[in-house]
Structures are given as C-alpha cells and as structure tokens.
Symmetry: C2
Subunit: 356 residues, 2 copies
C-alpha cells in the first residue's frame, strides 16, 4: 500500500457533494456509478469531481460494496494495434466508472487464456472482458459467468455462451471488399489470416475458431461463389501468426505461377508484412497487386501508395464492451445483448484494376 | 475457477521427472525456477515439460510457496508500440518461469500509477515491473519495495530508488543523431516529446520528469552547445501527448518563419505524426525536412522515404527487467543493479543535408 503522505489533502465525497450542491448520498450514487439520477445532477457531480480532482477511495468502496473495483481483460495479442486501441476504449469507460483495468495477454492460446481467467478470478476481479482465442473452447468462460462474474465478449462472439457480446459486421465488410475486387477484374484473390488450423491448411470456414475471421471468410467465399469463382478455399491462407510466418507465406504465394492479383489481409500486422514483401520482390502496389487490409492502423495512410482499409470501430468495440460490463456490475439483469457495430471501407490507393 | 473437465489428462511434475530421467525434487526445482541445477539437467527437464505439454498447477504452487505466481506491470501507454513490444519481452520470460503477467496502463499519469500499484499490491502480485510516469514522484514505489515486493524499473530509472533498473543509453543515442544532423549542416533542429510540463513550455532538462527523455534532451542540448548552437532550449517542444496535440505543435513549428530543417521525434507515434503533417503541408522529407525518430517501429521501413530511426533494444529491455525480477523472486539478495542497453542508429532515407 502507498503509505507515503498524500500530495494534497484528500477530497471526499462530501466535498464533491457540497461543490455540486447535492446531498452526499446523491454524490455517492453518481461517483459510485449505481442507482439513478437525472442527467443534470450527474453532470453537476461529475464536473465538481473533476474540478476538485476527486480520487475515489478504492479501499473504502471495496469494504462497502464487496467489490474490488477492478475489471479483468484478456485479449489475444496486445502488440496488435487493434487490441491496444480497443483497450483504450475499455479503459476510458472503466476509469470514468471508477474501475481499474487489469490486462492479461493470451497470445491467442486457449490454454494461456484459461490460466488468465483462473488468475483473474482468484484475484477477485468484479467482471471480465474477453476476446476468446477459440470460440468452441469456452467452458472456462461459462463457469466464470455461472460463478456470478459478469462477462462480456469483445470482437468475437460465441454461440455457446449466453453473455453480452460486442462484435463488428465482419461478414458484411468482407463481402463489400470482395465485390469491389471482383468488379475490378480480380479473380485470383487471396485471403490471409493469423488464425491457424492443426495442419496449417484451410478447407472450410468451420476450421476457423475465431468468429470474427470466420465470418469474414464466409463473406469472402460467398461473394466469390456468387460471381462464379469456385475453389477459392485454396486461396485462403492461415497461420500468419508472426511477421516471419507472414513473410514466408506471402513470398510463396507471390512467387507461384498462379500468384494472386489481390490480397485481403485480415489485420494490419499482416497488411504491413504484405507491403514489405512486395517491396522486397519489386512488385508494385497496386499495379502488380491490389491490397486491402482490415484495421485502419495509423501507418496505413502514410505509405506509398496509402492502403485501402476496412475501418473497424475498434475504440467503440472496447468502449461498448466496458459500458455493458459496468451496467451488469450496476445490477442490470436484462437478457444478454449482442451488439453489432458497422465497419466502413476507406478507399485509398492500394487497389486498382487487375493486371491483364 | 475453471471447473470444466480438463481436455487432456493432467501432466504432473512426476511425469516430467520420469521422462527427463531425474528425481521429482530436481524436476520441481527446474519447473519452479528455484534452487540450482546443471544446465544439462535444466535442458532435459525443460524439453520433457515441453514434450508433455506440462502446465504448472498454479494453485498447488501458491499453497507451497506462498506466492500467487503473478507479476504486475505498470506502463505508461500500451498503445505505444514501444511498450507493447517491451511487454512481449516481459511476458516471454515470465511465462517460461511460470508466472502470469498482469498489466495496468497508467496513461503516463502519476496518480493513476499510484492507484495501479495499490491495486496490484492488494491483489498480491509477487513482484512489480514499472515504467514510472514521474521519476521524482516515487514514494509509492519505495513503499512497495520496502513492503518486500521486488520491483524493477523499466526504461526509466530513478535516482531516488535503490532497486534494479533496465534502461537504454538514451543520452548517447541523442548525441549521435544530433552530431550527424549538425554535420549535415542543420542548425534549426527541433526535439519533440510527449512529456509535458505544467505550462507546456520547456526551459531546462530538469523540467522533464521522464528520465529516458530527459537524458536524450541533455544529450541533444550538450552537442548543440559544443557546436556553438545556443538557445536550443527554445527548440525543445513538449506536450505531444496525442496525435492531435502533435499535429498542432508540428504544424505550428513548420509554418513559422524560423521553421526547423530537422526534427527529432522522441517516439514513433510522434514520428508518424510528423510524417503526416509534412504530407499535409506539401513538404518533402528529406528535401525540406530531415526526420529522425526514436523506436524502430514496424511501419518506419515502408514509408517513402523510409525513416531513419534510433533502434532501441525494446524487447531486451522487457526481457532483462523480467529476468532481474524472477531472480529476485528466486532469492537473489545482491545489490540493486542498473543495466544500460545499447541503442543503434538505423540510417534510412529521411535525413539529408540541410536545405540552403
């Protein structure tokens, strides 16, 4: 515990109440994020708390509410800017509601995820936000939810769990970009994902355990079939788990006789590596290869050419997940909700007509 | 707790010992990371554990060792690729040693950092790795160390704490790039950092609370003075805390009559924003402006031109910090050590002679 003297006299709930001109009980309701008050009162208390630099006393709250004031988050790969941005959305909401966010990285490994959930439950987090590594392997999450710890799934749903989930309309996004590529004359379109299968080969979408990616591949294959392109399953490549893996896979496909004229990268880490391999092989984007990447990562707008991307509502995914969790922690017992957020294609200059 | 049936029969320490051909006590020493064994025995046990997919039983260990098996990490900004890469270094070492890593993001806010430390101590982490937001405000860290929780400082030291720390040779790196820019004829060289001061102005390095950045600025100013450039304090810009802030600061400096001919960006998030502002203003890198960025972020090699960077040993910073912490947890009582890792300038194409 921090036993050093406080830098400034502690601001109490009573101080905030006085400044806001409300009762102490009302101020406590707003600051503790429980009960209902009018928007006007909430705004007044929030403004007063900010003006006085009020810091909630975690220990006191924990004693009166039985809560530890922490939310546990388990994501697949915090090095992927997708997850670090979603984390900001989570943290901004949690902090506002007075919760500290504790993060464990699963490395997209289901066993590590189970250990992470065990650790977080043992450390008495109040609730969990999880991006499950495998949607079919969620027994540990079901147990957590049954044990009374609210759980929200982030970016990946699971048909096997009756809990709140926030996902993006991945299938629709993949359909849109696939249609666009086909309209530009592309036939040899590759889809590349970090998701892997036991033998590192793709046969059918049900091989893919990560729902967001499975839905994208379903969208991609569905539009290809509509357009009369068959056997596109062979153009779905899995296992781009590290930049080195991605480099090897992309080099292989771009050096084959039937090399793709377009690649859809399932995340920005893969998109960046496709870009690097093209440079290394002396291939021009978009003249030799069109590239579309999921996730509007910061760097995608500064390359030459800038990269056409699927902008996912990443910050809002995190924000919404945290809001749903805080509502559960505040006693919302309504049925589990499934929130689907819209994506948007940002057209830049990495997509062109297929080379003849 | 995960009460679902295990997917495969649990592998025990006895199984690992049998496969490695050593006693159970010896296998337990290796797997628990305590005591000493020969390299040969360690390798045999590690290989056996890997072959059998041995998962340490956290609960059992916690009961015998009094440890929770978790390491708490507090960093400034997990969205900065610097910290997410350092986290991988930490996590790789920790996992190998059987620890789960729990992360809290401080947002570079000293008060949030104090709350994070309180939370982690209350949750009984075994040790801490912290990148302090303010080196002068570390009473809470001293208390944590005094309370018997080993603490290692990451990337930022503090003269006020007698604990292990791992930092990069920031001053030397800044001196090197400043000399190079001056040799190319640059006189109006700006240094831009996210660190802030109360009035958002820079006067002297002691204004800067983050040691790594303070050392860089000291190096920058020292070399400038040697070269007869005075008053360069006015060219140190603070408060580039978000891309929006950076955009405003950079636009302002590039539109001034005495605009810089070179910018040193203190991290890759800032470097990226400088790049974007140049595009927006129609300025050419390196013809109109030379750019050097700290941190060899992935994207820096794919821009046109690719960016000259100071490659910091980021992964090794994390890895080394975790190794020092694990050694402390295993009973190392030696004096606190201060490890300084070398940086390297990667010359790409964003630096050229100063425009005449």
């Amino acid at each position: 515990m921090d036993q050093s003297p406080p830098r400034s006299p502690s601001v109490t709930v009573a101080d905030v109440a006085r400044k806001a001109g409300v009762s102490k009980a009302t101020a406590a309701r707003v600051l503790g994020g429980y009960g209902t008050v009018s928007d006007r009162v909430r705004d007044a208390v929030t403004a007063a708390a900010r003006a006085l630099d009020y810091q909630p006393n975690e220990l006191a709250r924990s004693m009166t509410t039985g809560r530890s004031g922490t939310i546990g988050v388990v994501v697949g790969d915090i090095e992927n800017p997708f997850f670090s941005l979603a984390m900001r959305g989570i943290t901004d909401v949690a902090r506002q509601a007075g919760f500290t966010v504790v993060l464990i990285n699963s490395g997209e490994d289901a066993e590590a995820e189970k250990a992470a959930i065990r650790t977080l439950l043992a450390k008495r987090v109040d609730g969990l936000i999880v991006s499950p590594a495998k949607e079919s392997d969620v027994g540990h999450l079901r147990e957590a939810a049954r044990a009374g710890r609210p759980l929200v799934l982030l970016d990946r749903g699971s048909e096997m769990l009756d809990v709140d989930m926030v996902i993006a309309d991945d299938r629709h996004a993949a359909e849109g970009i696939t249609r666009r590529l086909i309209a530009l004359g592309h036939r040899r379109i590759a889809y590349l994902t970090a998701c892997d299968t036991p033998d590192h080969r793709f046969r059918t979408p049900s091989d893919i355990n990560t729902g967001s990616v499975r839905r994208r591949i379903q969208g991609f294959l569905g539009v290809c079939r509509e357009a009369g392109l068959d056997g596109m399953e062979d153009r779905v490549h899995v296992g781009a788990v590290t930049p080195e893996h991605t480099h090897r896979i992309v080099t292989g496909m771009l050096q084959s006789s039937q090399r793709p004229t377009a690649i859809i990268a399932s995340d920005s880490v893969i998109g960046l590596e496709v870009f690097k391999v093209c440079r290394a092989l002396g291939l021009s984007i978009p003249d030799d290869l069109s590239l579309v990447s999921f996730h509007d990562a910061d760097w995608t707008s500064v390359t030459t050419p800038p990269v056409t991307v699927v902008r996912q509502p990443v910050y809002r995914l995190g924000e919404t997940a945290a809001k749903l969790l805080v509502e559960r922690l505040n006693g919302n017992h309504a049925e589990a909700s499934r929130v689907v957020l819209q994506t948007k294609v940002i057209e830049r200059a990495s997509v062109a007509e297929a080379p003849v």
